[in-house]
Structure formats: C-alpha cells, structure tokens
C-alpha cells in the first residue's frame, strides 16, 4: 500500500515534469579541424537565435546540445546516434560537409528524427532521408544561376576549375549545363585535388586555352590562393574574366584575402551587405555578440535552420513527433536575413533568391555587393 502511494505520488510529481520536458536539438558541427570556420559561424548564429527568440516556444523549453565532429563523418554518425539514443533529442541539426550529412541520414530515418542541414550543399542529400530538411544552399541552385548569367554576358568560351569533391562536381555539372544550354562553349573542365599544393599548372592551362572567362568553385578558404595566383599570373590582364560561386569570396575570409578579390563576380544566396532591415539587424546583432566577427552565409543558414525548427514546434503546439515536425516544415516560408525563402513541400529543399554580386570596397572593408537577383530558385537537379 505504501509503495502504491509512493508510486502515485511519484507519478504526480513526474507527469507535470514530463509535459515540461525540453525540446532538445542535437547540433553537430565541425568546431575543430579544417572546417572550423563553418562550425564557429553556425554555432554563433544558433546562440544569437536563442537570444533573439528566447528559449521557450509553445510552452516548451528549447535546449541545444552542441557536439563537435571535427569534420569526420564517422564521428558525426556516432555523435548523432548518441544524441538520439542517450539524450533523446527531438531534432538533429548542423552538418558542415556533404559526407557528414550522408553518414547521418540513416539515423534520422530509423529514429524518425528531423534532420536540419545547415551547411552541406550537394544536391542528393535531401533524397537520402524523408526526415532531412535543408536551410543551406544547394550547389546546382547557385551553379546553374551562374551558368545562365555568364552566358547572358556575351561570354562564349569558358574553362571551369572546381575542387575535386561532391559539391565541386555538382558545381561543374550545373554551370556547364546551363551555360551550354544558352549557347556557350566549355573549352575544358579542370578538377583540382582538395589537397592541392599548387594552382600554377591549372592556371597556366586556363591561360593557354584563352577562354573569355574562367568559372571557379572551391570551398571557402581555398579560393584566396587561386585568385592571388590568377592575378599574379596576369590572367586578368589577358582579358579572362573570373566568375565564381559565393564560397570563394566567403564573407568570413574576404577581408583577409585582400584587394586581389576586388571586382570578382560570384553567385550566392547571401552577402553580409545584403540590403534590408532584417539583415541589417541580423548583422549588427551578430557582430555585437561575437566580438565584431562578420556573419557569412553559413551563419544565416544556421539561423534559418533554427527558425524552421521553431516554426514547426509552434505549428505543432509543442507536441509534434518527428514526422509531424517535418510535415510542419514542408512549405514553410519566411523572411530570412538573405531574403524570402521557402522549404519546398515536395523535396524538403530550400527555395531561395540567388544573387549576383561583385566584390567592392565599402566603408573601408571588402564586401560582396549585390547587383542582380534571380528570384525563387529551386534545386534544378530535383525539378527535372
């Protein structure tokens, strides 16, 4: 009898606590290793989001558990598994690189936990699990936009130079596709190994082929060496134009890359110099909270990932399971610092405006200044 009373009492104490159980988000990011900058930017943005929107939504406390995977896929998978099994997280988020997202996809599917991809950009990712939602960018989205734009500039002959890994090949394929569809000719497609010691031979080959322009995609950080050598080799003076994707002139690195980047044209979903009140507020709050660090595209992707989750929690009244949360995120639409964005209801991938930008000096700093926009771009690889 005593025991029963105790049990009842315990149940009475526990059940309100159960209703109060926090909504746990397992955030897995490369906080160390070569992709540290991605982790730093996204985690700072997530912190900012929590400060801006509070840690309670629809009567539930939100708790973010940050884990470092150092950019190693095995670790991402292990951390995800631990977060699901031990911490009982309600959602997974982060994923700095394509392999990290791919390694975790089966866990999201089996555990029926929404997985918000905040950085990895290869097209196939969202196909790998019905629980994956992406708030980052999709490589074919930006690459195809750049392909069409380049062709529209009267540029007839192009060489492509991309880093030899998933997103690089996506970039090459979709730039080429749209550029050729518009009547352009691709003279050659060069793939540079990621651990490449020297761009000289690739640049020399570009120079000798005499294209009208060279299209470049490298992950953030590698681009600077390329652009420096492009100038040093005098390719700009032979009239070869340089067009690239936003990763190459990453806001996080742009000032350190220096004046050689002036005039480089890129396509990308976000620039810290994007006009508008939402972004102005975001940038100034981000800088204040992070000792003057400028937010880059990754930061915005992370911020929007949190927005997607918050909206879904609110929509499901704080009670939704994984499936309901993903359903709630489908078709969601809001004003991000980068402009209006939507989660495609069918593909769970992001639909966003892609901007054409040129590196210019503004207030003594280098920025990607937007001069053109293609509205509501879907992932072309999925709309076929």
């Amino acid at each position: 009898m005593k025991r029963l009373v105790a049990a009842l009492l315990l149940a009475g104490i526990v059940s309100p606590a159960l209703a109060q159980e926090p909504f746990k988000i397992g955030l897995i990011l490369p906080m160390t290793g070569p992709s540290q900058s991605t982790g730093k930017q996204i985690s700072a943005a997530v912190k900012l989001f929590l400060a801006d929107h509070g840690t309670e939504i629809a009567g539930r406390k939100v708790e973010v558990i940050l884990r470092d995977d150092a950019g190693v896929a095995d670790t991402t998978r292990r951390e995800a598994q631990e977060l699901v099994v031990k911490e009982h997280v309600n959602a997974l988020a982060g994923f700095g690189l394509t392999p990290l997202a791919l390694a975790t996809a089966p866990i999201a599917t089996q555990a029926k936990v929404p997985m918000v991809v905040m950085a990895a950009a290869t097209s196939i990712i969202t196909d790998k699990s019905p629980f994956i939602v992406r708030t980052a960018q999709v490589m074919p989205q930006v690459a195809s936009t750049m392909g069409s734009w380049t062709a529209g500039q009267g540029i007839k002959k192009v060489m492509t130079v991309v880093s030899d890994y998933g997103p690089g090949l996506d970039a090459e394929t979709w730039f080429t596709k749209n550029f050729q569809a518009a009547g352009g000719e691709v003279l050659g497609s060069l793939r540079v190994p990621l651990a490449n010691p020297d761009f000289a031979p690739f640049l020399q080959r570009v120079k000798d082929s005499q294209p009208d322009a060279v299209f470049v995609f490298t992950p953030s950080g590698y681009g600077a060496v390329f652009i420096k050598q492009f100038i040093e080799r005098g390719l700009d003076k032979t009239g070869i134009r340089l067009v690239a994707l936003g990763d190459v002139t990453d806001d996080d690195q742009l000032n350190a890359m220096g004046d050689v980047t002036l005039g480089v044209v890129t396509a990308g979903p976000y620039s810290a110099a994007h006009p508008g009140a939402v972004n102005a507020k975001f940038v100034s709050a981000f800088k204040t909270a992070n000792g003057g660090m400028r937010p880059n595209f990754m930061a915005v992707f992370g911020y929007d990932g949190m927005q997607a989750l918050y909206d879904a929690i609110a929509k499901t009244g704080g009670k939704g399971d994984g499936t309901a949360l993903v359903e709630a995120m489908k078709g969601a639409s809001w004003e991000s610092p980068r402009g209006p964005i939507t989660i495609d209801a069918k593909t769970r991938d992001i639909v966003q405006d892609v901007y054409l930008r040129r590196v210019e000096r503004k207030d003594g700093e280098l920025y990607n200044i937007e001069f053109g926009v293609v509205a509501k771009v879907r992932d072309p690889a999925k709309s076929e």
Binding site: S35, S37, Q204
Partner: protein
C-alpha cells in the same frame, strides 16, 4: 612549356628546402620524424605574425622564420627527440605523429583554422618575360633562395669538418665518441638546422601552398616521397628528387589534369621499382 618547367622547378625547390631536414634526420640520423611538416608550419605562422601583425618587412621575416623554427626544433630535440633516437621505428612514428596532432591543435587554437595569407611586397607579385618565357617574380625568388641553400647544404655535408663529423656520428656513434666527436651536439645542431630549413620553406611556401593548421598532414606525403625517391646520399638525391617531382607534378596537372594528382605516385613507384633504395645511396651502410 617552358613556363611549366619554371613553375615546376620553383615548386620542386620549395619541396626540397622543406624536406631537406627530413632527409638528414631520416636518411642520416635514422630517425623517423613525421612531425617535420610541423616545423614548416611553425615557420609559416611565425612569418604571418611578424609580417601581418607586427609589420616586419617580408625579407627580414624570412631569416627569423628560419631561426624561430630552428629554436623550436632544438628545444624539442633536447627535451623529447633525444629519448627516441634509440627506440624502434614504430615508437618514433607514434611519437612524432602525436606531436603533429598536438601542433595542429595548438595552432588552430591560437590562430584559428582559416587559411593565412602573408602580405607580400608588391614587386614580388610582378611578372616578366625572358626569351618568351613568362616568369613570376615570387617563383624566381624561391628558386634563387632555395638554390643557394641547396648548394650551401651540399657543401657543408660533403666538404666541411662538421659534415664529416656528422657522417661519422651517424655511421658509428660509439667510435665517433671515442674519437672525441661530441655526437649529441652534432645531432642537435643538425636537427635544429633541418627544422630551421623547414620553417623557411613553410614561410616561402605559404603563398603557393597555402597555410592552415592541416599543413603538416597535407604535405607529409610529399616530404616522404622526396626522401624515399631521393635516397640518403648527401643532398643531391633529395634535390634531384624534389625537382623531378615538382616538374612531374606541374606537367602532369597541365597535360593530364584528370590524372594530375596521381602522376607523382606513378613516378615514385617507377623510381622505387628501378632503385628500391632511392636515386642515390651511400655505399657501405
């Protein structure tokens, strides 16, 4: 064509200066030091800090990158490496790879994981034509500096008293000690100079190879190939190997971009099948 050879030569010379120290420690002192690239990285970061933060002129920072890396090398040799000289190769590998990871983490903690860029004097970014060959000023600088160093090294090892002591100390430390050679001092000095050279190479190479905390791992393979292909006879072997690899790498990436990254491995396999001990081997080991 000629421009490619020139670029390859510059790249090869750079590899040589960075790997020279390794070929001495591995080939002569019989110590497997996988942390060699960490000294190159140290030299690179010393230059970045001096030039970008403290405003030291680039040319004044170069010797300091040598001295800085040499001092670090000497300190580690006296405190840590001295204990592993006589240990098995496996223990040396484990020890030095551990050191690499510590160095990478330390650098990324102190300086961040992003790429570093050294602010170079403007004239080094210029380019000029010689007999129709387009030459970059910076690469020319690399060839000149590294060429002079290579000649000096070869001279020291092959012709000076110190070189003779070093070779003696390596061949038979016990007898060398009996002849009054301070073997510990010779090893320490050699290790320090090797580290210093790596540091200078890292400083010169940052512009071309990039510089971030993964540097020691990213280029470890290249250093080891230089030593493996070059063999252990003095400085000529590694020099030739480095230049050969540099040129093959550049030419391969230019003419066969789809196999570009693989060419140097093919070259290594071919050379090692033909001469398993490397291009040049000292007799009597």
């Amino acid at each position: 064509m000629a421009t490619n050879l020139f670029d390859g030569l510059a790249y090869g010379m750079l590899l040589f200066v960075m790997a020279a120290g390794l070929s001495v420690t591995l080939g002569l002192m019989n110590l497997i030091n996988l942390a060699h690239g960490a000294f190159a990285m140290a030299g690179g970061y010393i230059t970045v800090i001096l030039v970008n933060r403290l405003g030291v002129p680039f040319f004044a920072a170069l010797p300091m990158s040598f001295i800085g890396a040499a001092v670090i090398g000497l300190g580690l040799e006296r405190t840590l490496y001295v204990h592993v000289y006589r240990k098995s190769h496996l223990e040396q590998v484990l020890f030095s790879i551990g050191l690499v990871f510590m160095a990478m983490t330390a650098v990324s903690y102190l300086a961040g994981s992003e790429q570093q860029f050294i602010k170079l004097p403007a004239f080094l970014a210029s380019r000029f034509d010689v007999l129709g060959v387009s030459i970059g000023a910076y690469r020319l600088l690399i060839i000149v500096v590294c060429g002079v160093l290579a000649a000096a090294l070869q001279f020291v090892v092959a012709r000076t008293r110190f070189g003779a002591q070093l070779r003696a100390a390596v061949d038979d430390p016990t007898v060398a000690r009996g002849l009054g050679i301070n073997v510990d001092l010779v090893f320490a000095a050699t290790f320090a100079v090797g580290s210093g050279l790596a540091g200078l190479g890292g400083a010169l190479g940052a512009e071309i190879l990039g510089l971030d905390p993964t540097f020691p791992v990213k280029y470890m393979v290249y250093f080891l190939i230089v030593v493996a292909v070059g063999g252990s006879a003095g400085m000529t072997g590694p020099l030739l190997a480095a230049v050969l690899l540099g040129m093959a790498d550049v030419a391969g990436k230019y003419y066969l971009p789809q196999f570009g990254a693989f060419i140097i491995y093919v070259l290594m396999i071919v050379v090692l099948l033909w001469r398993p001990q490397g291009l040049f081997v000292r007799a009597g080991r």
